[in-house]
């Protein structure tokens, strides 16, 4: 089974995607999607040697919804900054966030989340693989911002990637 489905989550994603692009729900389409969804990961598996320990379930979905919500909010915040904040009033700063996450995948998801959400962009990680460098557009209290990120996102990701 492991050999046939090196990344079951990926297979699922691919099948869903296939159905989405087909724009129709049909058995034939599904079977073809399943076929490709099985075949393609087999072909690409060598490029993804590890199998990240992901728990699919409510925490994952909840995290997704949380991020989508944050994205919408973040956009309005950034829009406000862009439109109404004078350059000299922007309190840009760098944040160095110490992380406890273990896998590259988790790291990436967190960094991506940070980039998509309020006023922050992930810029780099440290060579020891324990810190994330983040640029914040406008922050009054960098310490608090770090703490917020760790609490809001990293904690949840720790549950998902174990």
């Amino acid at each position: 089974m492991r050999r046939l489905f090196p990344h079951p989550g990926l297979t699922l994603l691919l099948v869903v995607m296939w159905m989405l692009v087909l724009n129709e729900l049909s058995v034939g389409g599904f079977l073809l999607g399943l076929f490709f969804g099985t075949l393609v990961p087999l072909f690409t598996a060598p490029f993804w040697p590890e199998r990240p320990p992901v728990r699919y379930g409510w925490p994952l979905i909840a995290y997704g919804l949380l991020v989508i919500g944050d994205i919408i909010v973040a956009n309005f915040q950034v829009a406000r900054l862009i439109l109404f904040c004078r350059n000299r009033d922007l309190r840009s700063c760098w944040l160095s966030i110490p992380l406890d996450l273990q896998s590259a995948e988790a790291f990436t998801v967190l960094a991506g989340t940070i980039s998509l959400t309020p006023g922050t962009v992930s810029a780099d990680i440290s060579t020891d693989g324990r810190h994330l460098l983040v640029h914040a557009l406008d922050t009054s209290d960098p310490e608090a911002e770090v703490a917020r990120i760790k609490a809001r996102y990293e904690r949840r990701l720790m549950e998902i990637f174990r």
Binding site: V21, D124, D128
Partner: protein, 132 residues
């Protein structure tokens, strides 16, 4: 019902356009590259997102076949936008590191990584992180 749906669609369209414009306005207006990066990555993404959702609603509501490609595009953008931003940010700090260029007055100096042996990946390799 259809009128409400149309209103929602229209709203989303305008919203999308507005965000796209705001994002680009940020790109043009903000004072330093790292700040400019915020505009496009967030605002523009939502701008496109708005248009995409509007489109997803529009086609079935106007008697045309339902299309989910928009969802796929959104997915793609959400996966790629942070990576793009990350790579541009790296190029930016690398450029500042080696050329010292464009250190506008609004640029903030980079912090050192907390660990003494470590360095930000853009400036140091894994070898540098290892003890000699």
């Amino acid at each position: 019902m259809a009128a409400i749906l149309d209103f929602v669609i229209a709203f989303l369209i305008v919203l999308g356009g507005a965000f796209a414009l705001i994002g680009s306005w940020g790109l043009a207006r903000l004072p330093a590259l790292m700040s400019r990066l915020h505009g496009p990555t967030k605002a523009t993404t939502l701008g496109v997102g708005g248009c995409l959702i509007a489109s997803m609603l529009y086609f079935p509501s106007h008697g045309m076949s339902w299309s989910a490609h928009e969802l796929l595009i959104t997915l793609f953008l959400f996966i790629t936008a942070p990576i793009s931003a990350n790579m541009i940010a790296k190029a930016c700090i690398h450029g500042r590191h080696v050329y010292g260029d464009a250190v506008a007055k609004y640029e903030v100096p980079l912090p050192r990584p907390p660990h003494p042996d470590a360095e930000w990946a853009t400036f140091g390799s894994t070898e540098a992180a290892k003890p000699e």
